[in-house]
């Protein structure tokens, strides 16, 4: 029942490696928790003639109160207690490593996608034309949304065969993906059939 086909195995392998990589990144960033990533923030509202002030310090949770953080204390003696009662101190933590890793991953994926888009729209037709000549280019532009039922069946049946050449397989997969995207683009953007 649970036959592991090669494709399924490859998928599983890529997925698990991605998960491992991400976990590794996150644990590394979590371990390197610098002292800069914790703080105690005290907000003190205006009191008598003193303006409102915000105090930040890198102290731990047990020291996070008005007496430790508010330095220099703007009031003297018996006013300190009244002043401190109005202040609110909060302990906050963040992970700058996570933020850095996330932004860098995001920007790199965005950059890769943009490069791939530029390649697909601008460079690939030029390259193909130079390598294969005009005839091949025309041939790859056909098969626009076949309505014939038997062509569809042909597609389904032939997809299940194994191909010998790896490069052929990649090329074929890319062609199939581009055809799918073209179909989707026609339904969404041109004919406005789905997702108006």
């Amino acid at each position: 029942m649970n036959r592991v086909t090669p494709r399924c195995a490859v998928n599983l392998l890529t997925f698990s490696s991605l998960v491992c990589f991400l976990l590794l990144l996150y644990t590394q960033t979590a371990e390197a928790k610098n002292s800069e990533d914790i703080r105690c923030k005290c907000i003190c509202p205006p009191y008598k003639e003193i303006d409102g002030q915000i105090y930040n310090q890198n102290v731990s949770l047990k020291d996070c109160n008005c007496l430790h953080v508010v330095e220099p204390m703007p009031v003297e003696g018996k006013d300190v207690e009244a002043y401190c009662l109005r202040c609110e101190c909060k302990y906050e933590e963040r992970s700058s490593g996570t933020i850095k890793v996330t932004i860098i991953i995001y920007l790199s994926i965005l950059g890769l996608l943009l490069l791939y888009m530029v390649y697909l729209t601008l460079l690939e037709p030029v390259l193909k034309r130079r390598l294969f000549g005009h005839s091949q280019l025309i041939q790859s532009e056909d098969e626009v949304g076949d309505q014939q039922p038997f062509a569809n069946a042909h597609d389904v049946l032939s997809r299940s065969r194994s191909r010998s050449n790896m490069l052929n397989k990649v090329e074929h997969a890319q062609q199939r993906w581009r055809r799918q995207v073209q179909e989707q683009r026609k339904s969404v953007f041109d004919r406005h059939v789905v997702l108006s």
Binding site: C8, L12, Q53, R94, T102, I103, L114, H192, S196
Partner: protein
């Protein structure tokens, strides 16, 4: 299959006496072709387990799966729920039977049962991680329009100034490490030139982000645009849209969602997060055979995934499950309830551990006030509900009209230009007003905030707060104070922002970038609520001697909380647009963390739903489904007309006759010609064209694939070969050309109704069983067929709508 060969030779003469009652006056009935009724062999020789293994009735023999593609569906078609559910039951039965044989099989059956929970865990982890990444990236990119952090370009404004000591009480975000674009380019931070440069950079960044978003969507995954919830609703009701929940759609939706939100457009990310979570679920389903092969089981997982989506968007697991139950799912078995909750909790926990907002909160506008409310305040709350209802009805009508315009006119031919234009207008008009310049979630968070001594924003500028006379203001915060000048300007700006947001959201929702509408609707409601709240507050202060206020507003006490009005307004507007009921209230009180406000929220939500329902029947998602013509059979409407099945079935008296296949009289060529000439997605199989007695139903896709396969692989099949749907060969053709045996793809138990069945019952059957087609018989003979599309067209006709708007099958 040869076990049952014995049945074919015996029992030909077991005619029941009922046959004589059939009117066969002008019809020649050939009983020799009948497949005899199933007679179970209870003989002693076989053990009971053996019998069950070999003779258990299966709906269709699809378990060998020798021909790939049988049992799958065409794109833009509806699945057959009954077939999928029975396939799953057969599979489960087989595993249970085999588990009694060996330990390995027992372990396998345990792991099969456990795979559902493992899948939920993985979905929760993946969605939570993605949502955390989206939040962090969106926060950073939104601030990128203002300036950049010199400490590390990846910090947003708040994180850049996290450790700095230069922040003041008035300007919480000032620090030397954060440089605005004006400072970097012109050198100064104040003045006219700095303002112009900031304006220009803001508009440029907004246009750049929007352009990147729409070109990526167009180039890689056109299905990634829009909210996604109408299409997911349709998918969950049984429709197939291939590629809608694929990996490219997931990648593009994640990336472009961040870009779209950061570009300052009036949209939110809750709807797209539901789509992202469903994509994760669909991708993870491919690792589990149980869910990969079965469309019905997969939809159970997708229901759970939509709960996960809302849970990570709002930090509300229970609200997410209720949202999935109420809005998105079509069938929601109880098993899914517990699993959805588990997945939503795992996702919320993952999101919390990633900590995108730096304060262990899940959502930017989590508020925690507990100030009490007075029951007389229900009147303004109901008024907010009425406003929400009107806003909902207006928004739905305007948005559908705009989308219809986009669909049918030349506006739809320039999607990139449209996005750029809308972004330009939004950026130009929103920069001058500080309340539209900030992102939607930040605006809502500020409006929900209950003003206290520690706040210094304009909206909390009550006069007397700065003089600070010790005597009367020591412990009561900002209660009972007249508004200061800052508050008046804030109210004016907020009123302008309200008008702006009301109109720009109409044009933004439905564009070709990922867009949600929870945040914009909540923003509109929050602004309206806050305005009303501040108005009530000032009324109470200046007229505290009125009878109404004297009872509950003692001087110096906190009597009106504008933050609560903002919350109630947000709930009312969201309810008016989406028509959510329970899920809305639960999400809102999970956001606030307090049970005190359930009654105001419920009052506003109910009023808004009633007013909006009075003005227009459908919520925004149903309206979009109807606009696109998806075959969605609404489960909430009642069918009240007195038509019968004969009025709806096809063939119509004026149309072509019913296309049927006979069980043994047709050749391959004839069948192929029938398939080519028609576009029906299935054909009934009858005993013969004269008798029209029903045998079963066969789907077009299965027929096409099987015939193609037979032509290629089976020896000796030519165009004149016979096509047999019977289980055993008729004796005549033993020495002729080999026949194509298609018994395995025939559905032997199609649903039938008689011609006098009322349409109410037929619609009920379609809804409850998830049928795709239903055959109509008269006196035992096949008369016609009713498909789901016919039912939908009939309902549209009865409601005086255009029946041609149903596009899909």
């Amino acid at each position: 299959m040869m076990d049952n060969g014995g049945f074919c030779n015996d029992n030909y003469h077991s005619l029941s006496s009922d046959d004589e009652l059939v009117d066969i006056s002008d019809v020649t009935v050939d009983f020799s072709e009948d497949v005899p009724p199933l007679i179970r062999d209870y003989s002693v020789g076989r053990s009971k387990a053996d019998w069950r293994l070999h003779n258990s009735p299966k709906l269709m023999d699809l378990m060998d799966d020798t021909v790939p593609g049988i049992g799958t569906y065409e794109d833009f078609n509806t699945i057959d729920w009954v077939r999928e559910k029975s396939k799953d039951r057969d599979r489960h039965r087989e595993i249970t039977n085999k588990s009694k044989q060996s330990t390995l099989a027992l372990l396998f059956s345990v792991s099969d049962a456990f795979s559902g929970w493992l899948l939920m865990l993985l979905i929760g982890l993946m969605s939570g991680a993605l949502a955390g990444g989206i939040d962090i990236a969106a926060h950073w990119m939104t601030d990128l329009k203002e300036g950049v952090c010199l400490n590390g370009f990846w910090f947003n404004h708040e994180d850049c100034c996290w450790t700095s000591n230069e922040t003041t009480f008035q300007e919480r975000d000032k620090c030397p490490q954060w440089k605005s674009w004006a400072e970097l380019m012109v050198g100064v931070n104040e003045g006219a030139s700095a303002y112009v440069v900031s304006y220009f950079m803001y508009v440029c960044w907004a246009l750049l982000f929007a352009f990147l978003a729409v070109t990526l969507v167009r180039a890689f995954a056109p299905y990634a645009c829009g909210s996604g919830i109408p299409e997911i609703k349709t998918i969950l009701s049984g429709f197939i849209i291939r590629g809608y929940l694929g990996k490219w759609t997931l990648i593009i939706k994640t990336i472009t969602l961040v870009l779209a939100v950061s570009s300052g457009l009036s949209l939110g990310k809750e709807g797209p997060l539901v789509h992202v979570a469903c994509c994760c679920a669909n991708i993870l389903c491919h690792f589990f055979t149980k869910y990969r092969r079965n469309e019905a089981k997969r939809r159970e997982v997708l229901s759970a995934a939509s709960a996960v989506g809302v849970s990570v968007a709002f930090g509300a697991p229970i609200g997410g499950v209720l949202f999935s139950l109420e809005e998105v799912s079509y069938y929601f078995p109880l098993k899914t309830l517990w699993r959805s909750f588990f997945a939503a909790l795992v996702a919320a926990f993952t999101l919390r551990s990633i900590n995108p907002f730096g304060n262990s909160r899940l959502v930017l506008f989590y508020v925690e006030f507990h100030t009490p409310w007075h029951f007389l305040e229900l009147i303004p709350f109901i008024f907010l509900g009425i406003f929400g209802g009107f806003w909902g009805a207006f928004f739905i009508r305007a948005n559908i009209a705009w989308c219809r315009l986009r669909k049918n006119s030349c506006l739809g031919h320039y999607p990139v230009l449209e996005v750029l234009l809308v972004t330009l207008i939004t950026a130009l008009l929103s920069f001058p007003n500080e309340y539209t310049r900030m992102s939607g979630s930040q605006l809502i968070s500020e409006l929900f905030n209950d003003c206290g001594l520690l706040d210094s924003s304009k909206i909390c500028d009550y006069s007397g707060s700065r003089t600070g006379s010790v005597n009367d203001t020591v412990s009561n915060g900002l209660a009972d104070r007249p508004a200061g000048p800052g508050l008046y300007t804030a109210m004016l700006l907020l009123a302008l922002a309200l008008v702006f947001k009301m109109f720009i959201t109409v044009a933004t929702f439905g564009m070709k970038v990922p867009s949600g509408l929870f945040i914009p609707s909540m923003a509109v409601g929050a602004i309206a609520g806050r305005l009303l709240g501040v108005g009530m507050e000032q009324l109470a202060i200046y007229h505290h001697d009125w009878n109404v206020f004297r009872r509950w507003c003692s001087p110096g006490a906190d009597c009106i909380t504008p933050g609560l009005y903002a919350m109630v307004g947000a709930a009312a507007c969201l309810g008016g647009v989406t028509r959510m009921t329970v899920s809305l209230v639960v999400i809102m009180f999970e956001l606030t963390g307090g049970l005190e406000y359930i009654v105001p929220l419920m009052a506003a939500a109910m009023t808004s739903k009633w007013v909006a329902d009075a003005l227009g029947r459908e919520g925004i998602y149903e309206a979009h489904i109807r606009l696109n013509g998806y075959p969605f059979l609404e489960a909430k409407e009642e069918f009240r007309h007195k038509t019968l099945a004969t009025d709806v079935m096809r063939p119509r008296p004026s149309g072509p006759p019913l296309s049927v296949l006979s069980q043994s009289g047709m050749t391959v060529e004839e069948v192929e010609r029938l398939i080519l000439d028609t576009t029906y997605s299935g054909f009934p199989v009858v005993i013969s064209h004269q008798s029209q007695r029903l045998v079963g139903f066969v789907l077009r896709r299965d027929l096409v694939i099987s015939l193609e396969n037979a032509r290629r692989h089976q020896e000796g099949v030519v165009s004149v070969s016979a096509v047999l749907f019977t289980e055993c060969d008729p004796p005549a053709s033993l020495n002729a050309v080999p026949a194509v045996k298609l018994h395995s793809i025939l559905d032997l138990s199609p649903f039938t109704v008689t011609d006098h069945t009322p349409m109410e019952i037929v619609v009920d059957i379609f809804r409850k069983l998830g049928l795709r087609q239903c055959l109509v018989t008269q006196n035992g003979r096949l008369l016609g067929i009713i498909t789901k599309k016919d039912v939908l067209k009939h309902m549209a006709q009865m409601a005086n709508r255009d029946p041609d708007s149903i596009l899909f099958n």
